[in-house]
């Protein structure tokens, strides 16, 4: 009897060790971009930093001025994304070369925020736990990362997970929300054709230089590669977002001698953080078999131990 218990434990240890070692073999398959994924392409060589997109974003999303402005600043000029800024233009001068950088949600192909969100408050359009109530039902396939405040408990795990530090929290509100770009899905018009039926980002509509454009991810990726091919002397050959962190639906081009890290974009491996985390975490569970089997085995052993104790001593524990 003693041997069987020891075997059970050995088995459990072996299973745990095997699960820990074999995580690569059981890795969750990488998520491909949705066939109709929409996104944006930002070309830092075209941006002149007029910040028209910032104002258009605030108007389109009903966002108040930056807190610093409210405190007496002359301009509404947020230094970074915050709970009243879903889109920001930053002047990056690291490495001697000045570039304008547009920052907003990257609408990742395999987003960390969606992976970590406890009840799917942050979710890909049409792929959440429920459809957001509103005028237009959610449609799967656009890949837009949307926010459903009714399912958000404000745990802020999305802020820990997001490698781009995009989701922001209303720190000074007793009834706070998570604030981030939702690609102006609410401005989409079903009467229009193509991507504009899905969404219509105000920043892209207003940009006077065409530095940021909206469209289907595939088309934008092709266009970005065409621009690089046409003027290889002007562009960094890589399109940021094609593969970074499993790919993003917002893509970036920059000048030839500028690294994307100089724009403040993190260098990320091709495997998404969500894929890595889910592979490692899920492997030992074997689709839920492990906890059930472990529970049954332990209940059996404990029950038997107690019965035997009661038998030998003539009393309950």
């Amino acid at each position: 009897m003693r041997i069987s218990r020891r075997d059970l434990l050995k088995g459990a240890v072996a299973a745990g060790a095997a699960a820990a070692v074999s995580t690569d073999a059981q890795a969750r398959a990488p998520v491909p971009a949705r066939p109709n994924a929409v996104g944006m392409l930002f070309d830092s060589t075209l941006c002149v930093g007029c910040r028209a997109c910032q104002q258009a974003c605030k108007a389109a999303n009903g966002l108040p001025p930056d807190p610093a402005h409210a405190a007496g600043g002359v301009y509404d000029a947020p230094a970074d994304l915050n709970s009243s800024t879903k889109n920001v233009i930053k002047l990056m001068s690291e490495g001697g070369q000045t570039q304008f950088m547009k920052q907003q949600c990257m609408h990742c192909v395999d987003p960390s925020c969606v992976s970590v969100c406890m009840m799917g408050a942050l979710h890909k359009e049409g792929e959440g736990k429920r459809s957001l109530p509103g005028a237009r039902p959610e449609k799967a396939g656009t890949g837009i990362v949307m926010y459903d405040k009714a399912l958000c408990v404000g745990c802020r795990y999305c802020q820990i997970g997001c490698a781009f530090n995009v989701p922001k929290f209303e720190w000074r509100d007793p009834l706070p929300l998570i604030v981030k770009c939702e690609l102006c899905r609410h401005r989409g018009d079903e009467k229009k054709s193509g991507p504009l039926a899905v969404a219509n980002p105000a920043c892209c509509e207003v940009c006077p230089r065409g530095a940021v454009i909206y469209g289907e991810r595939e088309a934008l990726l092709a266009q970005a590669r065409a621009r690089v091919a046409a003027r290889p002397e002007a562009y960094n050959a890589h399109v940021y977002g094609a593969t970074e962190g499993g790919g993003t639906q917002v893509l970036y081009l920059t000048a030839k001698d500028v690294a994307f890290t100089q724009l403040g974009l993190p260098s990320l491996p091709e495997e998404s953080s969500a894929s890595f985390s889910e592979s490692v975490s899920h492997a030992p569970y074997l689709m839920g078999v492990t906890p059930v089997a472990l529970y049954a085995a332990m209940a059996f052993v404990i029950h038997r131990n107690q019965k035997r104790d009661a038998h030998t001593t003539g009393e309950g524990q």
Binding site: R5, C152, R156, Y157, F276, V280, S281, P291, N305
Partner: protein, 406 residues
């Protein structure tokens, strides 16, 4: 045979000076929490979009539940491995577990920005099973309930021995019925912490780019599980020593030394895994004359020192030294947790072990610290209250001063 038979209420004044100090500390914390619900989290804390969890998550939830893992560890030894000699440790360990998990779970409620939506969490159709935090939330809530069910036998025994006939009947009828269910409750009380203590490490897997490579690896769930057990066993040794000093509770030195030998094995396992990962994945290159290296070596020393001490006969025999070594295991686990969640976390990430420039800094605010201290204080107060009123602590018969109630 069964040592719990000798557990008895400690009695004594319920509101002595220590108790008053603890309750005042809690009252101050409660005021801060009330203020937080009125104004939002920003004004009482130094938390920002960069350091979004401050100390409430890493300390109040992750460290407190690590201390509470003594219930898990002792249960594992006593019930699963059938080492009946550890029985006397079960009730105090379970009570500490119940109290610290309640603290962790209630701390989540004011750390959450939108806690009123948390009532959906038990609703399975909304579960996102990819989320480690969902697993932690559901498991911790379930386990907190399980722990209080494990405390119930003490309460029912207390009721059965009370002066009131109705309570006596209740205790006498419910007690044995509960006893029949216990194996199924205890199995759950081992399964749930195995799952969520590893998930507390798994939580940080997804923050890969933001955590220093010496702290981030695929073994995070395993390392958190192993170190929660070492913290738990350490906490039990610390606890029985404190109970011995305050209430002359039984302290079987051989017993706690034996448990500490098990703990030494866990600490060595942790060290082998942690160092092995660093070597195998070529992370030795991050070691050098920098803060990360210093902290890494300090943590390893905190794990290694008690491991060695627990194996020395001179320490095993000596109450004070064993107590000291047990305190070190608590510090080791606490440092490992806080360093992973906070000290070596940088919102803008790391490049080759050097933190990228960022616009965020963090040091806990007075409000955050007051709340953390207040929560710990109320936990101690609840433990003292229940131990005074109900049979939890086992007293050495030869030293007991009040045998009439045993």
């Amino acid at each position: 045979m069964s040592a719990t038979e000798h557990a008895r209420p400690m009695g004594g004044p319920l509101l002595d000076r220590n108790m008053k100090v603890l309750l005042v500390l809690f009252a101050v914390a409660a005021l801060v929490v009330v203020y937080r619900f009125a104004t939002g989290i920003g004004p009482v804390s130094n938390m920002t979009d960069g350091y979004t969890w401050g100390i409430w998550e890493p300390v109040n939830v992750v460290v407190f539940t690590g201390i509470g893992a003594g219930a898990f560890g002792v249960g594992l030894l006593c019930y699963l491995l059938n080492k009946g000699k550890y029985h006397a440790l079960v009730r105090p360990a379970v009570l500490v577990g119940a109290v610290s998990y309640t603290l962790g779970a209630s701390s989540i409620m004011f750390a959450l920005g939108r806690p009123w939506n948390a009532y959906w969490l038990p609703y399975a159709p909304y579960w996102n099973l990819s989320s480690a935090l969902l697993e932690v939330a559901v498991c911790v809530l379930a386990y907190t309930i399980v722990l209080w069910i494990e405390v119930l036998p003490s309460i029912l025994e207390g009721a059965a021995a009370s002066r009131y006939p109705k309570l006596q009947a209740l205790g006498a009828s419910l007690g044995p019925r509960l006893q029949k269910l216990m194996p199924y409750v205890i199995a759950l009380a081992i399964l749930l912490p195995t799952m969520h203590q590893s998930s507390l490490g798994g939580l940080m897997l997804i923050a890969g780019p933001k955590i220093h490579p010496l702290w981030h690896n695929a073994l995070l769930p395993t390392l958190f599980l192993v170190s929660c057990l070492s913290m738990g066993y350490g906490a039990v040794v610390v606890l029985v020593n404190l109970l011995n000093v305050t209430w002359k509770a039984r302290l079987d030195q051989e017993l706690v030394a034996g448990m500490s030998k098990v703990n030494a094995g866990l600490l060595i396992l942790y060290l082998v895994l942690r160092l092995g990962e660093v070597v195998v994945h070529g992370k030795l290159r991050y070691l050098g004359a920098n803060f990360a290296t210093l902290l890494f070596l300090f943590e390893l020393a905190l794990f290694a020192a008690p491991a060695v001490m627990f194996l020395l006969p001179a320490v095993q025999r000596d109450r004070g030294r064993l107590f000291g070594a047990a305190l070190l295991t608590l510090a080791a686990g606490a440092f490992y947790r806080v360093d992973t969640y906070l000290t070596m976390y940088r919102p803008s990430g790391w490049t080759d072990g050097v933190a990228n420039a960022a616009g965020w800094n963090y040091f806990p605010s007075m409000g955050e610290m007051v709340v953390t201290v207040g929560m710990a204080a109320v936990g101690i107060a609840v433990f003292i209250f229940i131990s005074r009123a109900f049979p939890v602590v086992v007293v050495d018969e030869t030293r007991a001063s009040n045998p009439s109630r045993s």
